[in-house]
Amino acid sequence: MATVLEAREVTVRFDPQLMLTRTIRERIALGWRSRVAPFVALDACSLAIGEGEVVGLVGRNGAGKSTLLRVLAGVIVPQAGTVVCDPDRRLVPLLELGIGFHAELTGRENCLLSGALFGLQAREIEERMDAIVAFAELEKFIDQPVKTYSSGMYARLAFSLATELSPDILLLDEVLGVGDQFFVRKSMARMQRLIRSGITVVVVSHNLDYLVAQCNRLVWLDGGRIRMEGDPASVAGAYRDSG
């Protein structure tokens, strides 16, 4: 199985001095206190994703799952280590329940803009617009600014768009439990169809049953390091026992 995405010895540190001080006054104030140690979100973490693989990431809050997903997506550039990816494959991340929507733009405009940012022509997105809107069940609201959407509507549109963009690699961060039970069922069915079509998926979720059922491999992150990876049932069992 060819590797399509890989993180090698990746380290990500969140430095409070960089992240929490935005003004000269704050810089001076923090400088007077003792230096706060950086938070190590990922510590020399390595993970290779093969073509067509479905990999689940589990771990407690703050374990580094979302950070690893962001690193793989290219949203966060790590301070150490490397990320290797195939630029010819379309990688679509669905992070923080969204895909990067501008609150003032309408749902339709956001879809067109996102499509353009992912390298699609306006015509290509317009051709898929009906399907995106229908799946998200937003026919009445698609021409309203997304700031008027509920969080469920927002997440539905993001999921519908992300899965209609013909991704080769899909990165999902806690998006499969969003919305009402009907949409959850529908989105899971779509995910299964995409997986069957051979796309590569990396998914972060706390829903262990879903991960065990859908993934080829489960990775357990703890304190920014990979504690265990392999057969989903075994990893899930060990993770459950750790609690």
Partner: protein, 267 residues
């Protein structure tokens, strides 16, 4: 497969991809800007027309000056200055303002100042003809030196984009930059020969010396000489303004490129 190195993403888009994304973003920013306005895009022409009208009234009626002569002197540089100022201040906040995208999508931070520059350049393309019409009405028979004006605009535009990228990078890590930029631009404007003719001051006087060493003087000369004095800008004007623009563009690009891996942490 391409490999990232610390601080540099593996998915480094090409200049073409970045430009295309900036264009897409600028299109929607343009739409948003005029969405809830009564006159829409017409404001692009009306706003500079009203601005120039108010200025003419103030200087002609209130200050009792020779309106035509001064208006030509003022308009030819003030409109490009407003473009420069708008681009720099817009670019300054652009990367931080792009947080909604940068936190969720692998987008180059260059997209945001570029989009802002495209937007202000488009608005300027509407506004400058208004100034040109006003100047043509006030001073008929403008000569050949006008041919170099597009080149002058190019120099101003490059300087604006370069300084904008530089300020945008600094603003990611220090929010005081916005106020400092605004104050610096105001200082640069009021101390430059955009409002006051440099030749009104005796050689060797404090004002003449200030204008001589003021970098904006050389940028202003690219418009004041063809429009007001009817001459071509000198080689010194081109060299100084062109060099400053090139240095700013290079410095801005280098600064943002060097910090692109750290941008996420500063949002």
């Amino acid at each position: 497969m391409p490999e990232s190195r610390p601080g540099v993403s593996a998915r480094r888009p090409t200049a073409f991809e970045t430009g295309r994304r900036a264009l897409a973003l600028a299109r929607y920013q343009f739409r948003l800007k005029y969405r809830h306005t009564l006159l829409g895009v017409a404001w692009n022409v009306l706003e500079p027309a009203l601005f120039l009208g108010v200025l003419t009234f103030v200087f002609a009626v209130v200050n009792d000056m020779k309106v035509a002569e001064y208006a030509v002197f003022l308009f030819c540089t003030l409109v490009p200055w407003r473009y420069f100022e708008g681009t720099v201040t817009g670019c300054t906040e652009s990367v931080v303002g792009g947080e909604w995208l940068l936190r969720r999508m692998p987008v180059s931070p260059f997209v945001f100042p570029l989009a802002r520059w495209l937007l202000t350049s488009l608005e300027f393309a509407f506004a400058y003809p208004v100034a040109l019409v006003a100047i043509a009405l006030l001073k008929p028979g403008l000569g050949l030196p006008l041919l170099v004006v597009p080149l002058g605009l190019l120099v101003w535009s490059a300087a604006a984009l370069g300084l904008g990228m530089l300020c945008a990078t600094a603003y990611v890590f220090l929010r005081d930059v916005r106020t400092l930029v605004q104050i610096s631009l105001m200082l640069a404007f009021f101390s430059s020969p955009i409002l006051v003719r440099a030749d009104l001051f005796a050689p060797g006087s404090a004002q003449a010396t200030l204008f001589k060493w003021h970098p904006v003087s050389y940028f202003a000369a690219l418009f004041q000489k063809p429009f007001h004095y009817g001459t071509f800008p000198s080689a010194l004007d081109w060299t100084v303004a062109g060099s400053i623009a090139a240095v700013l563009l290079l410095a801005g690009w280098q600064a943002l490129d060097a910090q692109r891996g750290r941008v996420y942490y500063g949002l």
